[in-house]
Symmetry: C2
Subunit: 442 residues, 2 copies
């Protein structure tokens, strides 16, 4: 694995320590107790959507495939586990040759999901599957949270482009994954160079208030920017007086000025004033970009305003109120013995205290109405009803340890747009509500 | 830089792309315009605390020092910038030899902060400082948000230990930083092996429900766990029936059983019942660990319950409602010219739309009352009043490009505990309120 394969500008020699301590102690106990080889089925799902949300967005699957492929215990990692007495020597020996050799099925990345949707299914020996819990959940819980917020913002923005600019508001590497998830959800560009490098997402940006303040006057700053970035650049016009800045901007760049950016104030009011001023100055093609503390509601409220593009930061990378999903990784079936032919037994937590789940390896299908609009998420453990056979959602991602379903990010992005378009209209309402289609168990 | 120096298990060859596109275009424009060498002062501060919070916690400073030291544009990065036409050839040449050569002062990591506190000050040429905006803010905004939540939870937990177990709820590398920040805020251990490897934080964990479900019976699972992890282990008792599980646990492990863990249900009620049952079974030294969707309020509500330790996940890594801080990186002063001896001019955004700030290089000091309790955060731009001279908060972190203030994480953790203890008592009330001390500008 090198930097271009995995999360740039970071070379991750192994993902094996993105793991909770208890996964290794369970492994040790299972190895010693003779249960480690029992064939097991784990599923990733959530019991509920974040409050008020109508649908979830599967994101991070591509990163999960990388993480599973790269999950190796090298000598440095083994030395750490030995020195800290995390597990015993036989377990360390077992880890040294670890390669995931099982199967993974899942919802294709960019699909939507609902409560109970089995968005990922991991099948293999208990030992090889139990170790993957944390890294799989980290990726899916984070990326899906961002993609869900991005998807709502993209609905609100309609055809206007969305710029992801939240890197400064989240962990520096979470930011790279957030740009990726935002792109899946419908964003068009990012400010984050690392996301451009790693995932090929188009990067954009021109200047901050600091650039204006560096100069002896705002005019000097605008002139310097136009001199080097050209008349098509975007000038930031709210450092001092917006009207004065717009006048200077058009005076210096002419009507070919690409855009002005407004980063503070009452955006609705200011956008209207600036549009009028630009038009009066003859800069009718100059665009207006707004970038101040936007979320999906603010974007929607600007739908009728003369705004050409939105830049979104904080609310995007924090999932617009829901920075994580509540996905869990649960054992749903396991063999009666270590015999590879032993039948699978459905299992589930039964305590009365809540957090119960449904045992058994599941299929999932989306039933459509006669217009092709989604009508229900249907989940079952037995045979798939004939009428749903071609509506099944799970696809094979890893077969016998080999990743077989890598795909370009643009394909994922297109899938999400297509799937969202097939949800009932109320899915894209921003108001709080229940999941837009019910989950039915058969 | 190798994996043990920087964020394990990740080798970050450079942090230079954790940067927003516009920082490079500003650099290009400043280089061409002749303003790039103007001596500049940038400050990191927040205009407000998250709603209802009484104080903030500075965290991530140590990671900032690593990131600045490691901020280099190697051939791969330069090739990307060239191919994508982010900047022109003279700018690429300038970047190729980039090394930060300026000075950084800041609040020591673990300190508390208030609205306006200049928690970091970066001084050097405009060109070398402007590039660091995003990576510095990413680290401080993320880590400080987690540390603030951790600090409140630690206050609520009193002397009981807190286990950080949120890796699965956040990006896999944000999780490592979150463990670090949680430790700074007062957590005692983590489930995240990567955090143990990278930062030496003690890691803990024993088993999940999957381990019980893997076995033919709960007794089999408990026996297997005790056989390999010993009688001092922690058994998870809420997979089926808690009372039955506690009986089995003590039957198998005897009164030497280390602890039982409860991960669902009404924790207050269940903890009381389990304590009574353990005592009746003679397991009076067996501890009770609770781990279900805890936050600082839930922890506080269990203060009178027979609970010995808390495990916290989601709410810790999402900042308990505030997953990011609103810290900004603002140019507050710059030289009149590129002459190294040119005097500094205070600068600040003035637009009426909000987001204004105070220009000038600032000092900060915390005034104490006669009992040694914090009374006010005093911030100024002129001479430091004599009575505050020994209460100054900013310390030198990087001098002429050299990091001079690395410190062990335990020292940071101890500092936070000591500083928090010197805040007015109301700081540790969980109820919403204003900043616990006022910010005064002189």
């Amino acid at each position: 694995m090198n930097a271009t394969d995995l999360g740039l500008p970071v070379d991750v020699p192994s993902t094996a320590l993105f793991t909770d301590h208890y996964e290794l102690t369970m492994l040790q106990a299972a190895l010693k107790g003779g249960t480690a080889d029992r064939r097991s089925v784990f599923e990733v799902f959530t019991r509920r959507l974040p409050e008020g949300r109508r649908y979830g967005v599967v994101a991070g699957t591509g990163r999960v495939l990388d993480a599973v492929e790269n999950f190796r215990f090298d000598s440095g990692v083994l030395g750490f586990l030995r020195q800290r007495h995390v597990v015993d020597e036989p377990t360390l020996d077992w880890l040294a040759s670890y390669r995931f050799s099982g199967d993974v099925w899942g919802y294709p990345e960019g699909e939507v999901y609902f409560p109970g949707s089995p968005i990922l299914r991991v099948e293999g020996s208990f030992a090889e599957c139990v170790l993957l819990e944390t890294v799989i959940l980290s990726i899916l819980n984070h990326d899906s949270a961002i993609a869900a917020a991005a998807s709502r913002m993209a609905s609100a923005a309609g055809t206007r482009p969305l710029i992801e600019m939240g890197a400064r508001r989240t962990h520096e590497l979470a930011a790279v994954a957030a740009s990726r998830a935002a792109y899946v959800g419908g964003f068009t560009t990012t400010s984050d160079l690392a996301a451009g490098f790693r995932y090929g997402i188009p990067t954009v940006g021109t200047s901050a208030h600091a650039f204006t303040l560096l100069h002896d006057s705002e005019r000097d700053a605008f002139q310097a920017q136009v001199n080097t970035l050209g008349r098509g650049t975007t000038l930031l016009v709210d450092t001092y007086d917006v009207a004065e800045a717009v006048r200077s901007a058009v005076d210096i760049a002419g009507p070919e000025l690409g855009a002005v950016r407004i980063d503070s104030g009452d955006l609705l009011l200011v956008a209207h004033r600036v549009r009028q001023q630009l038009d009066e100055l003859g800069a009718t093609d100059t665009k207006i970009i707004v970038t101040s503390d936007l979320d999906e509601y603010a974007i929607a409220s600007l739908a009728a305003a003369p705004v050409d593009a939105y830049g979104v930061g904080t609310q995007l990378v924090t999932g617009s109120g829901h920075p994580t999903c509540s996905m869990v990784y649960k054992l749903v079936a396991r063999a009666e013995s270590a015999d590879p032919k032993a039948p699978l037994v459905p299992v589930a937590k039964k305590s009365t205290g809540g957090k119960t789940s449904i045992g058994g390896r599941k299929w999932a299908a989306r039933r459509l109405d006669e217009d092709g609009t989604a009508e229900a998420e249907v989940i079952g453990t037995g045979a798939v009803p004939a009428e749903l056979a071609d509506r099944q959602l799970l696809v094979e991602l890893i077969k016998g340890g080999q990743v077989i379903a890598r795909e370009p990010l643009d394909a994922v992005r297109d899938r999400h747009a297509a799937v969202r378009a097939n949800l009932p209209m109320s899915a894209i309402q921003l108001s709080r509500g229940e999941a837009v289609i019910p989950t039915e168990y058969v």
